[in-house]
Amino acid sequence: MELTGAQRIEAPREAVWQALNDPDILRQCIPGCQELLQSSPTSFTARVVLKIGPVKATFSGAVTLSDLDPPHRYRIAGEGQGGVAGFARGGADVRLEPGEDGATLLTYGAQAQVGGKIAQLGARLIDSTSRKLAGEFFAAFARAVAPDARESLANASPSAADEAAP
């Protein structure tokens, strides 16, 4: 599946780029991330607890950054094994453009894939879950980079937003 979204962040592009490469910030923003250890400038090992409804599975895996074009764009990708639950793989192409008033417009196109038992059981929910997680990540990211700009979060617009009503 493919999903796209955009997020306005109340910080200059350089600062946003720094944050996109900061393991501490990434760890805070990846939903359920318990551990993110840098093993090279562009690779990390990660442990993520995925909790959706009754399902709770721990995934161990790797996160890599590629196609780096500072401060314009990069690709962040991750894949993990969740033991008996199956595997999950996903990535996002992230682009930064200067917005109005010194803010930055972040756009992303993300893909997600899951396999194994979790995919069979959750087939009806994988798309919704992926969208929700992507939305959570970028909303948390905007908050982490520009903690004082709460109003702009109301305009956060992953095409999949988790608002209750369309």
Partner: protein, 273 residues
Amino acid sequence: MFAFAYHRPRSLADAVGLLGAHEEAKPLAGGQTLIATLKQRLAAPGDLVDLAAVPELRAIALEDGRLVVGAMARHADVAASPLVRASLPALAALAGLIGDPAVRNRGTLGGSLANNDPSADYPAACLALAATIVTNRREIAAADFFTGLFETVLEPDEIVVRVMFPLGGEGAYAKFPNPASRYAMAGVFVWRGAGGSGEELVRVAVTGAGQGGVFRWAEAEAALAADFSAAALEPLGLPAEDMIEDIHGSGAYRAHLAGVMARRAVTRMAGAG
């Protein structure tokens, strides 16, 4: 299965205490989602706190002009209850449509609400009827209870005790079930009645379709408030990109289905009135 500790408390206070005392504890109601998940090993809580022996959770009663249903009332109990059938027939009918007989004889109202599956039926009834969800520590309006896909405002050691449904007005629930699982591909609960100051109110709650779970369809409510007829809903459409898309159906399919279910519910009410 894997090893876990099984607790069967005999009071609500003990149940809450057990949930607080064990970090990985999960409450067990009817188990129609949780047990299946455990069998697949997609979750491995260290402790299960079975609520089946807590006495005050099962009663169905009328109190102060409201229908009060205990959290551990099974779907079959609600569907067959003479009290529910007489006071809120649409709720009894909805309970009779949940899953299959095995699910209805185990699954519970509280379990369904706490799980907040985006395709579950009861959340639509709670939103459309403006129910109040009572837990061991507070009363929560249905409008504030559901916060997204499988998410509610419940704390880890908070247990749904009962649900209070205001009476009055009339309602109907129309559902298009998945032919295998009987989960709602789209389910719409329509209610019409008097608001707090006597003005006429319409509420339309949609389940099974939205990416974020159950939601109120404000456009449909406005159209029906002006003209309570299926025809008033004809021009309306839900945005396909906000609907669930999976192997069972596209977002556009579910958006269409939700419109059809809303019109069926309205037609049924207009016919009855």
